[in-house]
Amino acid sequence: MHKNILLIGLNHRSAGVDVREKYALTNVADFEKSLLSACPVSEVMALSTCNRVEILVVADTAKSADVDLAEAVLSHWAGTCSGPLDPLRAHTYCHKGLEAVTHLFCVAASLDSMVMGEPQILGQLKTSYRKAVETGSARVIINRLLHKSFSVAKRVRTETAIASSAVSISYAAVELAKKIFGELSGKTALLVGAGEMAELAATHLLASGIKKLYICNRTFARAQELAKTMHGEAIFFEDMVERLRDVDIVISSTGSPTAIIRARDIREVLKKRRNRAMFFIDIAVPRDIDPDVNGLDNVYLYDIDDLKEVVEENMSTRQGEAVKARAIVDIETGAFATWLKSLALQPTITDLLGRAEEVASRELAKTIKRLGPVDDETRAALEVLVSSVSRKLLHEPICFLKRRTREEGTAERFIDMTRRIFNLDADPVNADAHLDRRSLGDGDEELDCECCRDADPESPE
């Protein structure tokens, strides 16, 4: 019952945008279904985004022994995209076994992304997995592998600083604003002009909870239009300097050939606002804000080049954190390999009996402690009793599993289920492990069962 795990894909490093757009999978669900019927594979999951396509397949070793699985998947992929096979072969990578597992963990943890540490890839992977579950193409191995990859991504995020610093211009501006003002909740911002990056920075500021956003444009109608979409207030361009008195953060991105905000204006504004700090973000080229503004006390000015430097610095920090993240990925790959081996029946039976023995001895020790001194004969009789109860209790489940191994394709599911029911892999269960889990009620009490509680020896019953 050995399994082949294979991952074939292309990404922003292996292929240019022309190849990526040609071989992007527009209907992933149909592709998974057709691959299941066309190739000797038992499980499939495909992920297709603008930067990558990853096709993960699992096949029985015996069934796929005579087939070049990688070639078969590539041919099917090329056929689905109506493209030639050779260019696809030239731009794809193929990982087998634990290499495929490591690669998937790296993708989930955003170590393989164009912007390392970006969070979107995990969401895309979760969506693809959900689709594969709905299609029925994800079964025991892919289920486990994907759940594990989500937990690896979470671990990497919490244990390393891979996602801690801003790597986009607009987000870097918001991070800087936080270094100046701390909480942005009571602050006011002004967006001067319109430009994609400036609007994005304003959106980030809104998401950080700023109190009010003013929008100013030479064309008042455009300002009103933007104000409507961003829930801000449009102001006339002529009133801008006067309004600066109430504004803490200014994002400017106009097409003006000369500076529209000068140092002498700001000097007056500062007096009126009793020297409260101001942060200017100048994304325009040529610049909208007089560079001398940065020389004033309590005023901070960053232009596009300054922000780029911040982003580059943060990128280098992330590269350093990637080393730590890869170490986590290696450890988790090892854990997955152990689980994969345990999918054979015999290790599971051994683990089950071992667990039963452990529980039996622990409970016996408690009982003997409660009873006080007992003679050797009684002790031996009690040992036989608990051992026999635990083994007999497991007899039927073990027979059931043995019967399933004689059937086609069901053994792994039941073996995996058994391992999870008895928690043989000692996996921690996250609160959000199953999003569709029914709520336990208002209190969300801890899961507990009567058999876990020790019987009260003083109780009359």
């Binding site: 936080k178 100046i180 003002f181 006390d297 901070y300």
Partner: protein, 277 residues
């Protein structure tokens, strides 16, 4: 060895370890080291409190108030009290880097002044003691915190202004606004306390010697500090000055206070404040 002999050594060791570990932890960005350092500091603070209480449990507590050991011990303790308050209210954990060495320095100074008594007049005990020494020490402890916040403000502001990058700053480092709030709080509370402390001293001088001011070095420096402090208070509250200039002023005021407390008390002969053996 008796507990009273062991206690100062334990407090010094804990403050020293706390200081070193916090500085190393900050340099290496090791949160665990900083947590251990703060644990040492908290334990040291608890023992420091016991030591302080022990000093007051002598036969004549009023006499204990005049000892150099008690006074310096109290100042070090006060600095840590304000640090713990700011840590709790404003999450200014990094101020430990200033509070711990200062607490250590004043605690060591307190033990160096064993057997040395000030010429504190009897009427300065009790309520008057707290009006003069208590208020001045509180004001100085506040200044110590503003000193740390001021240095951090200037460093962070310089990096932001010169676009030198923020890589060396930790994620939990407070913002410029938070540092400035410490300065504001210290100006608002510290100046009235300092004024009250000084005024009570002058009242006593007038009551006892029918004079308010002499050219005693301690009094001269205290007056200079008061003028600078008053200027800071005015700049902040009346003119709304913020940021770098108040930060620089508070650093100067604090350094002058330290000069007055350590330099003049130990090295220069003064009328009432000398610890010079």
């Amino acid at each position: 060895m008796a507990l009273s002999d062991l206690l100062p050594m334990l407090v010094i060791a804990l403050y020293f370890l706390g200081t070193v570990l916090f500085v190393v932890g900050s340099a290496l960005r090791q949160e665990l080291l900083k947590k251990i350092a703060l644990g040492f500091a908290t334990l040291g603070f608890a023992l420091h409190s016991v030591d302080l209480a022990q000093l007051l449990t002598v036969a004549d507590p009023a006499l204990a108030l005049t000892t150099g050991r008690f006074l310096f011990c109290l100042l070090g303790w006060g600095i840590l009290v304000f640090f713990l308050l700011l840590w709790w209210r404003l999450k200014l954990k990094f101020l430990a880097v200033v509070a711990m060495p200062l607490a250590l320095m004043f605690y060591v100074a307190s033990n160096a002044t064993v057997g040395v008594n000030t010429k504190l007049p009897p009427m300065l005990t009790g309520l008057f003691f707290f009006l003069h020494v208590g208020t001045l020490f509180c004001s100085m402890a506040l200044l110590a915190m503003a000193f740390g916040a001021g240095l951090a403000f200037m460093h962070l502001e310089k990096r932001i202004k010169t676009k030198a990058g923020l890589k060396t700053f930790q994620k939990d480092m407070p913002s410029l606004d938070t540092f400035d709030r410490v300065n504001h709080f210290v100006s608002l509370c510290g100046f009235p306390l300092y004024t009250l402390g000084l005024a009570s001293g002058y009242v006593w001088a007038w009551l006892s010697a029918r004079r308010v001011f002499s050219l005693d070095p301690k009094e001269v420096v205290a007056l200079v500090v008061l003028i600078l402090y008053a200027n800071l208070f005015h700049q902040r509250l009346a003119l709304g000055r913020r940021g770098r200039k108040p930060a620089v002023m508070v650093i100067v005021v604090f350094l002058l206070s330290v000069v007055s407390m350590i330099g003049i008390n130990f090295l220069v002969p003064t009328t009432f404040h000398g610890f010079k053996p």
